[in-house]
Every structure is written in C-alpha cells, then in structure tokens.
C-alpha cells in the first residue's frame, strides 16, 4: 500500500476532477443565466462590466402567451397527478391485498406499459383521441398517462409492506374496505406518494412529444410546446430572449428542486429502486 502522502495527493487530484466535472455540468445553465440577464450584445461576449437587465424576460413574456402556457401546464400536471393518485391507489391495493381470478395475468399486462410508454404509440393514440373528440384538449394530453403502470407498481410494493394485522384490526372496528384503504393504507404510504408525485410532476412538466402532437392552439399548449414554437429558428427571435423564455419555462421546477434538493434526489432514487 502506498504511503499516506501519496493518498493525500491522489485524493486532492480526485477532488479537483470531481469539481471540474461539476463546473462543466453547470456550464450550460450558467450560460443561460448569463445570456438571459444581460443585454443582447453581451449574449456571446463575456465581460465583467456587462450591465444586468430584466428586459429579455419582459420581451419574452410580451411576445408569447406564456401566462396561458403556465396555466395549461399547471392544469395538465395537477389533473394528471390527481387522476394517477386515485387510479393507482385503487389498483395498487387490489394487486397488493386482494385475491381474485386473473390477478397475476392482469398485473403482467399492467407492467407492459413500463416498456411501451404512450409516446411510442402517438400514431394510434392520436386516432383514438380524434374518435373521442379530445384532440386539442388538456384531457387529451393527460388521459394516456393517467393509469400509470409505474404508479400502480410502486403503490403495490408499498401496500404489501403494511402489516395485515392493521387491516384486520380496522375491520374488527367495523371499517369498510374503502375506509380501510383511506385510513390505514394511504397514510402509511405517504412517502411513496411524495416520491411518485415529484417524479410525475417533473415528467409531465417536461413532456413534449405527445403534447405537441395532440395540441394545436394557445388554449391547450403546455409550456414545452409553447417554448419550442417560440424558440424555433424561423421565428427570428433574439438569443437572449430565447434563453430568458427558456428560464421562464423551467423556473418553477428548477426553484423547487433547489429548495427541496434532498427530497427530489431521494424521490427519484426511491422511485427507481423499487
């Protein structure tokens, strides 16, 4: 084994490398901030004397209906999450605690969605949506995601860890099945709901392909689609304004992440490992 000093040197080299990688990893975001908060002439020129400005944000905000896009995204994310919580709780409980014919086959069929996500089936799902008259509606964007195999799987795993005695005790006290689910299982699974909720909100806040396909008006477009149209090269908008718009679109999620960093990382971890 090498001496203490060489370990010290090797370690500081490693610390340096880890830091360097961290800085490289932050660079794109740092650049976005630079360009968004400085006048356009400094977008590609770096000078400590460059004046700060909010003009780019004001311009971006006035050139596209971002307020509406925010509202659409907010509506989409909350409605998908609410539906997912209800549907996945019911299904997760059924798979975890009830014995019925065809349960294992049904569960295997649910898991198919882990591999074949709705974005792969845009062609056929678009056709279905037009039959249902849901093209260009927020419901149309959210509907394919509401029964989430991932959510069902996570909640099933969590519900399975709830001691059966708790359910039996509640039943002795005269609780119905639904009451047991709401009063015993749901409160105990709170960490799973938080973890799944964060993952789901991030996913749908950022989702693009399916919303692009199914929307075609300002009234339904979420932020990502609005941003893509805004930033298209043919729109001829300034660099600085595009980066300002980009930051506007990611701001809520980014701020939430910076504030609750540990919670975010643990949620993604928790959700992935099950």
């Amino acid at each position: 084994m090498k001496g203490a000093r060489s370990i010290g040197f090797g370690q500081s080299l490693e610390v340096g490398a880890a830091w360097l990688l961290a800085i490289i990893w932050l660079m794109p975001l740092i650049y976005a901030f630079w360009s968004a908060f400085h006048p356009a002439e400094f977008a590609t020129r770096f000078s400590l004397l460059a004046p700060l400005t909010l003009e780019n944000f004001r311009e971006a905000w006035s050139q596209a209906p971002f307020a509406r896009y925010y509202f659409n995204t907010f509506l989409l994310v909350t409605s998908v999450l609410a539906a997912q919580f209800v549907l996945c709780t019911l299904a997760g409980y059924a798979f975890a605690r009830l014995e019925f014919v065809g349960r294992d086959v049904a569960f295997a069929l649910v898991l198919v969605q882990l591999m074949i996500m709705p974005e792969v089936l845009i062609v056929e799902n678009y056709r279905t949506m037009s039959h249902l008259g849901l093209v260009d509606t927020i419901t149309g964007i959210g509907l394919p995601y509401m029964a989430s195999a991932f959510g069902i799987f996570l909640l099933r795993q969590t519900f399975k860890t709830v001691p059966q005695e708790l359910e039996d005790a509640a039943r002795v006290e005269g609780c119905s099945r639904l009451q047991i689910l709401l009063k015993v299982y749901v409160p105990l699974a709170k960490p799973t709901y938080v973890a799944y909720g964060l993952v789901s909100v991030s996913y749908h806040w950022n989702n693009f392909l399916w919303p692009l396909v199914i929307t075609n008006s300002v009234e339904t477009r979420p932020l990502t689609v609005g941003l893509a149209i805004f930033g298209a090269p043919e729109s001829g908008v300034d660099w600085s304004i595009i980066t300002a718009a980009t930051l506007l679109a990611v701001a809520p999620l980014l701020i939430a992440f910076l504030l609750f960093q540990r919670q975010f990382v643990q949620s993604f971890m928790h959700a992935g490992i099950k």
């Binding site: 069929l109 074949i116 029964a147 893509a228």
Partner: protein
C-alpha cells in the same frame, strides 16, 4: 390468505382495477395491437379507402433508404450515449459517495440536468453548437481553429447530440448508483484495505460486480430512452442535414404527421415495438438467470 380468495374479493378486486384497466387497454394494449394490424393495410385516402396489402408496407420498409439511415443513426446514438453515460454516472456516484468538500453542491450540479425539459436543454445547447458565435467556435477561434457548422455537418451532428444527451442523462443514472453504493457494507472496503488491495482493484473485483443489478436497471432505462427521447431534434436539427441526425421515433412522427402516411408510420412503429420487446425479453432472461444462481 386463502387460495382463490372470497367471492367478495373477486368482485372488489376487479371493481378497483376497472378504471385503470379501461385506460390501460385503451391507450396501451389496444393501440399496440391496432398498430400491428394497421401495418398490413395501405394508407387510406378519400378516393381510395385503406385495403389489406399483406406485407407490402414491410417490403417498402426494407427498400426505404431513409429507414435504414435512421435505424443506423439510432444504433450509433445508443452506442454513443449508453456506455459513456453509465461510466460517467458511476464515476459521479463514487465521488459523491466519498469524502468530498461541498459534496451537496457537487451532487446538485450533477443532478440538475435531470429536471430540465429536453426542449430547454436543446435551446441552451444550440448556442454552444452555433457556427461562429457559438461557445465552441469562440473557444476554438482563440486557438486559431476555423469555425465549423457543428449541427450542419452530417459528420459531426450525431456526435453533438450524443454529447448533449450524455450531459442530460448521467446525473439521473448517478443517483441509482449512489443508492447502491450506500447500501454496500463498509466492512468490505475495510477488509480490502487490510489486504492491501488497490482502490482500482477493489472497484473492479468487488464494487463493480456488486453494482450489477443497478447496472442492469440503468441499462434498460438507457436503452429505452435512446429510442424514445427525440424532443431535442425538434429544436436542434429537425433530423437533418439529410436525415443525418434523425432517430426512429422522430421519423415516425414525420411520416405520420408531416407526410400523413399512417400505414407506413404504423409499420415503423412495429419496428420500434420490436426493439422494446427485445429489451424486455432480454431483461427478463437475465433476471431469471440471476434468481437461478441464488
């Protein structure tokens, strides 16, 4: 619990499953089957309704040069992104798991790209790759290297997308390795130190094999992502130049919603579904083997 369950359980079970089942069938199982069916029919027009054409669409697919190009691109995109992002993710996890000053900050830096939408990421990276005014060309100019149209050159465009994707994904994969590393018993490393094993040897012979389940999980996710993440193409290249950066799902989008050839789009989707099926079966086989060993 008794085998088969009570009659009440039967009713309850299916009642609770009903809402999720209806949606899953409507938007996952039905469209999967319908896509397969559609691929055997011609595209219908007002004058000529869609009719059964057997394997005609598949014959067309085999002769479609764009398809082969796109499939080839996607293969290289996967080969370029997956091993590199896994390697970087492991490195990040090892660093963030060790004693490191300002560890929280470094972890945040690595993880941040994960929560950004691909569209925003592409908007920002577009600037790096722009000819002349882009960051890369500005730095290159300082060294006297002439400017280059990174995204406009068929030889460099896919590489640009690969680098950006690695940046976006490595931090996400890192957290799974981090969780795995934290669950390893610390006695192992102590024992190795007593034995005088070097860190690299220890990593190669002990840590890395123990991380195998995580690697399998990450690998599956990475493969799926490399076939379903195409958002950035809409901003950066639109698949160009001359389809040099187009990926399978992007081509499906184009065929369906720009060329309005639903039948051929369905045929291409069948190929994509086939790829995903192979991934699923592969994962299943490996997992079965591992359980068998235990």
């Amino acid at each position: 619990m008794k085998h088969g369950g009570s009659r009440l359980d039967q009713v309850y079970g299916w009642l609770l499953l009903m809402p999720a089942t209806v949606l899953l069938i409507a938007f996952t199982h039905y469209p999967t089957v319908a896509t397969l069916g559609q691929s055997f029919f011609s595209a219908g027009t007002a004058a000529r309704p869609s009719e059964f054409v057997g394997l005609e669409n598949y014959r067309f697919l085999l002769e479609d040069e764009v398809f082969w190009k796109v499939a080839n691109n996607n293969l290289w995109y996967a080969v370029g992104t997956i091993p590199a992002s896994i390697a970087i993710a492991i490195l990040m996890a090892v660093w963030v798991n060790g004693k490191l000053p300002a560890r929280g900050l470094v972890r945040m830096a690595y993880f941040t790209p994960t929560i950004l939408p691909m569209i925003a990421v592409a908007n920002i990276w577009l600037f790096f790759y722009s000819p002349d005014i882009g960051l890369i060309d500005q730095v290159a100019a300082k060294f006297g290297i002439p400017s280059h149209n990174w995204l406009g050159d068929p030889d460099t465009v896919l590489g640009c997308l690969i680098v950006m994707t690695i940046w976006k994904e490595a931090g996400f994969f890192m957290i799974f390795y981090l969780a795995a590393l934290q669950s390893l018993p610390p006695e192992l490393e102590e024992a190795a130190r007593v034995e005088g094993a070097s860190r690299w040897y220890f990593f190669r012979r002990v840590t890395f094999p123990l991380l195998m389940p995580t690697t399998l999980f990450v690998l599956v996710n990475a493969v799926i992502n490399s076939f379903k993440l195409v958002d950035h193409l809409f901003i950066l290249t639109k698949g160009g130049p001359d389809n040099a950066s187009s990926l399978l799902l992007y081509y499906i989008y184009e065929v369906a919603f720009s060329f309005f050839d639903e039948a051929y789009a369905a045929t291409l989707t069948v190929v994509l579904l086939g790829v995903l099926a192979v991934v699923a079966i592969g994962q299943f086989v490996i997992l079965e083997k591992r359980i068998h060993y235990r």
